[in-house]
Symmetry: C2
DNA sequence: TCTTGCACCTCACGTAACGTGAGGGTTTAG
DNA sequence: CTAAACCCTCACGTTACGTGAGGTGCAAGA
């Protein structure tokens, strides 16, 4: 490079001695292996070799390498770089736009993941001494819920959760743990759904559902679908869990109440 | 799964028949090949095989797979998942934080790249019919400048560039293309730097520099360093370019002016 | 009972862009 | 002339599987 800063002799440009691979690597910040690799895949083949096979890179090769490096900083894969430099039937502006679009999509995905992990972290902080098992269960619960609820419903639930006290959540949990076994034993005893015993339970059940859904019918049915499909999974995580049969039973009771 | 939604018979859990690989794959959304792979790397080895060698996954294996899937959605590599599930000597909260940090760094890098590519795009839009070569040259210029200027200096230059009209930029370019050959020929003729001829040129030179740098001495020296080190590259892109010798010559002339 | 078809098995190569030796020639400075 | 430094060509390792190739196991219909 320094040889060319002498301004009086610009015509000697072509007579510059070609570079060996190590020299080119050193001057361009590439590794020798990378240059070998570019040669292997036909991206940058030195235009000369010594009789013994040593690679010799001419000025034109150096320029090509600089072009390669330029395109690579955009994150363009090597085979695409080769296509662009060899038969460029796509405009540079399109190249930029295309990769910018890809990049933005990638960033958006990563941002969603980060957001998701942050909400995961807040969930984890509710547990006193979380084990790896707890972590996995919470992740499973979150991904499961994402399958059954829309984004708005999830946000609504998130809001409601933060606006509610920790104790109240436990109270609700305890209520379910009390009610569900009652329903189960009543059903096992073949009690009539319209009997006063079940009607009383159904009233509490409806109140709990009402409180959770805030009267949102869509939300209520999403919850039911989820419990129907993911019964065993939720049971593992929540303890007592309503079965489809219970939904039927309580549904009959509610119908009888009207 | 459906077999377990019958709530009256929870004790039959263990007697569930084990699953073959295709069945497990179908139910968990994994591919058979992935399960084979997990087996190969010792991440999930089915606890049973049929005499003929068919893999049989028990309930415990299914649970492990669910844990694996849970951790994988965070983007944790497989060997790390194995470490976490086997000998978890790191707390789940740390796992989340660690990967969240990684993720944020990654996002930050991608964002910087996106920003960079957007500014690249605006540069490209200044060229009428940009070729792939123009694209590479602009990229080179941008990366080169990033080596010599600080972030603030670059922003300053960006601001100045947008506040200036296109024509004016061409005028400045033309001025340099006029002045530099004059200096070169004067130097070739060994004209004294303190001669009125050179002094006149030096005044125009200084004015141009002054306009570009806005009097910022740091900026001026950064520019000089860049021209010194990247002479040939810039020459390729700008046409006429000052050499270190010219800086010396003009420096002498300026000293004589005072 | 035989065959058909499907699910299963074990290799083994391919992916992206090189890093990292191994084993052996070449060049060059002393 | 020799030793250091440099060069060469394989060739495996990396990540998380996809995609056959070639062969076996198993349940059901003819």
């Amino acid at each position: 490079m320094a040889t060319n800063t002498i301004p009086m002799l610009p015509t000697r440009k072509q007579t510059l001695p070609p570079w060996k691979v190590g020299e080119l690597a050193g001057r361009t910040g590439m590794s020798v292996r990378a240059l070998h690799h570019y040669d292997e895949i036909g991206l940058l083949t030195p235009s000369l070799r010594t009789p013994s096979g040593h690679r010799l890179y001419q000025q034109s090769d150096v320029e090509r390498l600089q072009q390669i490096q330029s395109l690579r900083v955009m994150g363009i894969p090597l085979d695409e770089v080769r296509e662009l430099l060899d038969g460029a039937r796509i405009s540079p502006r399109e190249v930029i736009d295309l990769h910018l679009t890809r990049l933005h999509e990638h960033i958006a995905r990563q941002n969603r993941l980060a957001e998701w992990m942050e909400s995961l972290a807040t969930h984890m902080d509710r547990i006193e001494a979380p084990s790896m098992d707890d972590l996995c269960q919470i992740i499973q619960a979150m991904t499961t819920m994402e399958k059954y609820f829309t984004a708005e419903q999830l946000e609504l639930l998130r809001d409601r959760r933060t606006s509610i006290t920790e104790e109240h959540m436990h109270e609700v949990r305890d209520s379910w743990n009390e009610i569900i076994p009652k329903v189960r034993s009543a059903m096992a005893a073949n009690v009539d759904p319209t009997s006063p015993e079940i009607l009383a339970i159904a009233k509490r059940w409806k109140a709990l559902v009402e409180e959770f859904t805030g009267g949102d019918q869509q939300l209520a049915s999403s919850v039911m679908t989820m419990y129907k499909n993911e019964g065993p999974l939720l049971q593992q995580q929540l303890g007592e869990v309503p079965t489809p049969e219970m939904f039927v039973c309580i549904g009959k009771a509610c119908a009888a109440m009207r």
